[in-house]
């Protein structure tokens, strides 16, 4: 990419962009991303437009366009419908992509030991920060520019206020800046790209959760845009939020219709201040955290806490429960090290993580149980379940993918590989070392699952504890829930190990594994999303088709077995899909809840088979994954050379 000399000198930006453009990955990712985004845009607009046309037809508007013989004319004014459906995609793209693009910008220099050379130049810290920021904004904006023809087309259809369009562009720009500056801040704080990557997504998830809770408290550009479109909704709603915000704000926001630009600008001020704050923090951290040692931040935080407790103990004369002393492995050295010496492995640290995760989960669960007695929706817990599951997915994937690559980057792998431990042993022991972590991560998920059971019992959906049959049903659910959570997390761990182990750099293995895991989750979500298209016709289909269809879809979901246990819960409902159980039995001549149980069992079994297959595959490919000679592999090599000999 050649950068025209618009501004006299931005050497760092120039270097960054040249570096980015020199990588083949940049182009592949960018064109793939653009294709996905465009396809998505087309798909959405196709759906929206056809629905819109149908509507118009029903209203008799179609006749007008049809009479002229110009079908396009029928789309006049469709922009009004299309615009609010398309723009969120752009915001979503920014939220998803921006952190990953930015998080490595400073940490990579730390990892390569090049940050010091940057400091001794005459660039001021603030210049460095700005040029880093710009260097990641430029690709993002060019990426977004690809979709601007689409926006222009939508605009040309009419129905979109020009001022709203301008305000939207303004807001997207600030959304980019906001997420970029957050990512940059993480990049300045952390010593590794992996750390910055995880942290920036965790921060994004926090923002996302806050928006779900009360959008008014976090006026990100996206929230403002929704406000502008009058499309804001959340668990607490805009109304209650605006009460908190005060009448003045409410009346100000109400003017958005007349003066969108002025209102937008004023509302963006908090976001701007946040960006400024992040940039200043980055500048502040840039020097201070430039040469911090690479040892795990988490471990050090824990050690600090330990020291605190130690002092507390000393003063209070208490007893120390678990002493920090040397311990030696007995049989499985690799597992021993993962368990005893890693922050994510030691029992005492894991217990703390568990407390940190479990406490809020329990709190929210209890609140739900207490407040949703009368509403029969257990879906209030779905965001929490999703959050617990996404967190588990992220942590397991990151940990699983760095099992081998962290040793590779620290150059400890060769020593391990030249011992007589077989590749199979090494991989098995590594994953076994993750087991406790998986337990910890499974706990919040299971908490939500079991809360759902309690709520089912409590909300009196025909389930009473007196009924032994129902109790058995609940027990089945609990067992299956534990088993499926375990299967799913293990599946993720092995998947991450498979995807991440070959990579030379830790950051790359994490990117690859997280992309694959989230990609699979996304694809499976998309597969399930297809249900929505046929939502209109689902009334035509009977409960049997829907149930079987659900089971089939769950087969392809990475969290499918988790989902299956959830749908087992539904089978406890007395009136699935509004049919009474008796009528269903009359309709199909089968025991409907039992059918569901079998389908769920089938899905869980399928995921278990998937897990075993994946595990076997990883173990079989241990030579390739670890990059050394292994006996088991040699046999197949011999067979291959045998055949190649025949070929010649």
């Amino acid at each position: 990419m050649r950068i025209p000399r618009l501004v006299p000198e931005l050497p760092l930006l120039r270097r960054e962009l040249t570096e980015l453009s020199a990588r083949k990955r940049t182009y592949v990712v960018r064109s793939l991303g653009a294709m996905v985004l465009l396809a998505w845009v087309l798909w959405v607009s196709q759906n929206v437009l056809s629905a819109w046309q149908q509507q118009q037809q029903q209203r008799g508007m179609w006749a007008f366009g049809g009479a002229l013989g110009v079908p396009a004319a029928s789309l006049m004014g469709a922009g009004e419908v299309l615009f609010p459906r398309l723009v969120p995609l752009l915001f979503l793209a920014v939220q998803l992509l921006m952190p990953s693009m930015v998080c490595g910008s400073i940490t990579i220099e730390k990892e390569r030991n090049t940050l010091g050379t940057l400091f001794v130049t005459r660039l001021t810290p603030l210049t460095i920060v700005f040029e880093k920021l710009l260097s990641r904004l430029v690709p993002m904006l060019t990426f977004l520019l690809l979709t601007f023809p689409m926006l222009a087309f939508v605009y040309s259809l009419g129905g979109v206020d020009q001022r709203v369009l301008l305000a939207t562009i303004w807001l997207i720009l600030w959304e980019c800046l906001l997420y970029a500056s957050i990512g940059l801040m993480c990049s300045a704080w952390y010593t590794t790209t992996v750390g910055a990557f995880v942290a920036s997504y965790v921060l994004s998830a926090v923002i996302f959760t806050l928006i779900r809770l009360n959008p008014v408290l976090v006026p990100t550009p996206y929230v403002i845009w929704q406000l502008l479109m009058g499309a804001l909704a959340g668990p607490f709603g805009w109304q209650s939020g605006s009460i908190m915000a005060g009448a003045a704000v409410t009346s100000f926001v109400a003017r958005a219709g007349q003066e969108p630009i002025r209102v937008t600008f004023v509302l963006t001020i908090p976001a701007m201040l946040t960006v400024v704050f992040c940039v200043m923090t980055t500048r502040f951290l840039l020097y201070r955290r430039a040469f911090v040692s690479q040892s795990s931040l988490l471990l050090r935080a824990f050690r600090m806490l330990d020291g605190f407790f130690q002092r507390l103990n000393d003063r209070a004369g208490g007893v120390q429960i678990i002493a920090d002393r040397e311990s030696y492995p007995d049989e499985d050295p690799v597992t021993w090290r993962e368990r005893e010496k890693k922050s994510m492995g030691r029992a005492r640290y894991l217990i703390r993580i568990l407390v940190v995760l479990e406490f809020p989960t329990l709190f929210v669960c209890l609140m739900s149980v207490m407040y949703s007695v009368n509403s029969n929706t257990s879906s209030g817990l779905t965001p929490l379940w999703l959050l617990a599951w996404l967190l588990a997915l992220m942590i397991v994937t990151v940990k699983g993918s760095t099992l081998i690559s962290s040793e590779r980057t620290r150059e400890t792998l060769d020593a391990l590989l030249s011992t007589p431990l077989s590749g199979r042993d090494i991989l098995l022991q590594k994953v076994a070392g993750m087991r406790r972590l998986l337990l910890v991560l499974a706990t919040p998920i299971l908490t939500v699952n079991l809360t759902l059971v309690m709520m089912t019992v409590q909300s009196g959906l025909g389930v009473s504890l007196a009924n032994l049959n129902q109790l058995l049903w609940l027990l089945t659910y609990a067992v299956l829930s534990v088993f499926s959570t375990w299967t799913t997390l293990q599946l993720l761990a092995w998947l991450a190990a498979l995807v991440g182990s070959r990579a030379r750099a830790q950051a790359r293995s994490v990117f690859a594994a997280v992309t694959v895991a989230l990609g699979l989750a996304g694809v499976s979500w998309f597969v399930v999303g297809q249900e929505r298209i046929f939502a209109g016709q689902s009334e035509l289909r009977g409960p049997l088709e829907v149930t079987v269809g659900n089971a089939v879809r769950q087969l392809f979901r990475i969290d499918g077995s988790l989902q299956a246990t959830q749908s087992l819960l539904w089978s406890m409902e007395p009136r699935p899909y509004g049919y009474s159980t008796e009528s269903l039995e009359g309709l199909y001549g089968i025991n409907f809840p039992l059918l569901r149980l079998f389908l769920c069992l089938g899905v869980v079994a399928w995921h278990w088979i998937l897990l075993r297959t994946l595990r076997a595959l990883v173990l079989r490919r241990s030579q390739w994954l670890l990059g050394r000679v292994d006996e088991s592999e040699w046999e197949s090599g011999a067979v291959k050379s045998l055949f190649s000999g025949v070929g010649r």
Partner: protein, 327 residues
Amino acid sequence: MQGEQAADAGVQLSGVRPAAISLRNLRVTYGRFEAVKGISLDIPEGEVFGFIGPNGAGKSSTFRVLATLQPKFQGQAYVCGLDVLRQPQKVRDVMGFVPDFFGVYEDLTSLEYLHFFAAAYRIPSAKRKGTIDDVLTLTDMTHKAHSPVDGLSRGMKQRLALARVLLHDPKVLLLDEPSSGLDPRARIEMRELLKALREMGKTILISSHILSELAQLCTRIGIIELGRMVAEGSLNEIYRQLQLMRVVHIRADNAGPELLEKVRAIAGVESVEQQVDRWALRLREEDLSIADLHAGLVAAGARLTMLQPEAMDMETAFMKLTEGKTA
């Protein structure tokens, strides 16, 4: 142990004793780039073989093949008669490998580190403590046993790595540039340690890009360059192979054109260069030993006040071998 074998290790005995390390036309390619281009090598048991070459010559690639860390290569590689490709597991039992760049687990102490590898080498847990004490003593690391390894100096880390590969008492040691990056003191200590291992009868393959380091330690030397072995043998053999002339400086109080003619006429003297206060004689050592030269000079009537053979110059040999071809 095998101490007495080491005494005569300098003698070529590959026919008599089984080769501890044996390479047959080894080729290693990375993509389209050929890093090792057909190396053949036999190292008898108890020998210390020095592998010398500039950076990028292919030393580490060869080491990785022998350490079973390189699944793709052509040719054959045997350690103690075991095929690296077919019996990697057995090879790992008889071999200890210290890579050129290596990290140690930062989260462990030296003792935990050694226990980790003792378990990895499947040393019975009853024997572990004794074995670890032994290797700690041998490598003089006992006083650092309880220190975290990330606080150790580079020299200490190197010694810890050596302690690690000695745990299972391997017959063959593969040491890839063990003294690179060490300060002079640590370097000398490392050399002493390696000498002790040689006395114990271990077969050692050691690499370096510094010649003088290996000259004192090795029984044989191979010079590798751009993936090819350009010279191999004992130090003297290498000189002969390179046709390097021995330079002898003499001073005589009856030096003059007459004597100069006579000296030039001595068989085996290649040339005589007149310097300010001395003459530098270049001679073919295989034709004329220093003692014969002395006798010849006396016979020619030279009244010698000084006769000084120049020290063997390995750097010159190296420069000559790798003339402008370093990768």
